[in-house]
């Protein structure tokens, strides 16, 4: 258990605080910037903004989740950390699970907070704002898992960061469809499906990413 917390502490220090690498601040600012640009592009038509704003918030959340992909796995591979953990019998699955948790903590809750001003910018309030927040709560863990999985698969490849983004976007489409869809009619079923897809991603990521890290070692 103490190994778990030692690892989580280190991952959080890198991903949430991030030092000179930006930490959680950059994705949140990016998210807010997209939400801010949208009314400028579409024009100050309140009904249109309110109807389409939820979708924009979801697209912005997805893109913000992709931003830190290249510092999720690769830096530790280059440092030789994964080899040292492996020698100590710490499984890649545990390392990945801890990293998913740290990655989610560093962008999920901050994004949910930033969704409040972002919703105000596109004219979403009341019950619909509540649905946006619940949807992000259900969807961001899946985005975090997907990010770590794709980062592990593309770590060490040439142009890994750009390739990672390209790989993650299509896989995130179900989250986007159900999450943004929950803002239309019959919200609850959309939320349920978002959460379900999130859980699938959370369940397979430790094994998929762990296998990717192990097989990358043989190269």
């Amino acid at each position: 258990m103490s190994v778990f917390f030692t690892l989580l502490k280190r991952d959080l220090a890198q991903l949430l605080l991030g030092g000179r690498r930006g930490g959680a601040v950059l994705p949140v600012l990016f998210f807010l910037a997209v939400a801010m640009l949208y009314p400028f592009a579409v024009g100050p038509d309140a009904p249109v903004l309110a109807r389409t704003g939820g979708g924009v918030i979801w697209v912005a959340a997805l893109l913000a989740a992709i931003l830190p992909l290249d510092r999720l796995i690769e830096p530790d591979l280059e440092l030789g950390m994964f080899d040292q953990w492996s020698l100590r019998g710490i499984s890649e699955e545990l390392l990945v699970a801890v990293r998913v948790l740290a990655h989610w903590l560093s962008f999920g809750p901050p994004l949910m907070l930033a969704a409040l001003p972002a919703s105000a910018l596109v004219g979403i309030d009341g019950e619909k704002l509540w649905l946006v927040e619940l949807g992000l709560l259900a969807g961001t863990p899946g985005l975090a898992a997907l990010g770590v999985m794709v980062a592990a698969i593309t770590a060490g490849l040439r142009g890994g960061a750009a390739l990672g983004g390209l790989l993650a976007i299509p896989l995130a489409v179900p989250l986007l469809v159900f999450g943004a869809g929950s803002l239309a009619i019959g919200g609850e079923s959309g939320l349920g499906l978002t959460a379900a897809f999130s859980l699938v991603l959370l369940a397979i990521t430790p094994f998929a990413a762990g296998a990717a890290i192990r097989s990358g070692r043989g190269q």
Binding site: E78, Q84, G218
Partner: protein, 199 residues
């Protein structure tokens, strides 16, 4: 406080008929040895002959193309990557590993690191990084040491220190495998010339 090696438990490291393939090239084949507690082995040979690959195979990080390795006892690996967070002060970077390996005296004074504990790892010189990685490895308290080019970047005093640490480790019952193209002085050390097994 000086580093006093604890008596190691039983440890063993043996390789049987190892072969290693990188890409479509067979680097070496039919390599066998057996090391008991207290033994040291130098893997000697020029660059690219497969010393590092052999070290990674012995560590279990790389699958051999043929043959098998049997290990008894925990393994510590020192290679060209220090595995210390570059942006953290050295003390905290080493502290992370102590959180995992348990508190230990990693011999900072003797390694000449005691004044560097507040310096971020990325500002350390090549030799200082190597010393820091040695401190990390000592703190692990593993009976089997795998050292991949441990002398790279070290000055003559550093070289003597590594030789001394390895000798003490073996006297305490540990095993040391040293892959190096440079001469490494260690009493009673066996030596494998990699070119004898190259194809």
């Amino acid at each position: 406080m000086p580093y006093r090696p604890q008596p190691m438990g039983t440890c063993r490291l043996s390789a049987a008929d190892l072969a290693c393939r990188r890409g479509d090239r067979l680097l070496f084949a039919r390599l066998s040895f057996a090391l008991e507690s207290g033994a040291a082995l130098q893997l000697a040979g020029s660059n690219g002959i497969g010393k590092s690959s052999l070290i990674r195979i012995l560590a279990g990080l790389l699958a051999p193309f043929a043959g098998s390795v049997s290990r008894e006892g925990a393994i510590a690996l020192l290679d060209e990557r220090p595995a210390l967070d570059p942006h953290l002060p050295l003390g905290r970077a080493l502290g992370f590993w102590q959180g995992i390996d348990g508190p230990a005296d990693n011999d900072a004074v003797r390694l000449g690191l005691s004044d560097l504990m507040d310096v971020p790892v990325r500002y350390l010189s090549t030799g200082q990084k190597k010393r820091a990685a040695l401190a990390r490895m000592i703190g692990q308290k593993a009976p089997v040491w795998l050292l991949d080019e441990p002398l790279n970047g070290l000055d003559t005093k550093g070289v003597a220190l590594v030789e001394e640490l390895a000798a003490e480790h073996c006297r305490a019952g540990g095993i040391a495998v040293i892959a190096s193209h440079q001469p490494f002085a260690l009493p009673g050390m066996q030596r494998i010339e990699m070119k004898d097994f190259a194809l």
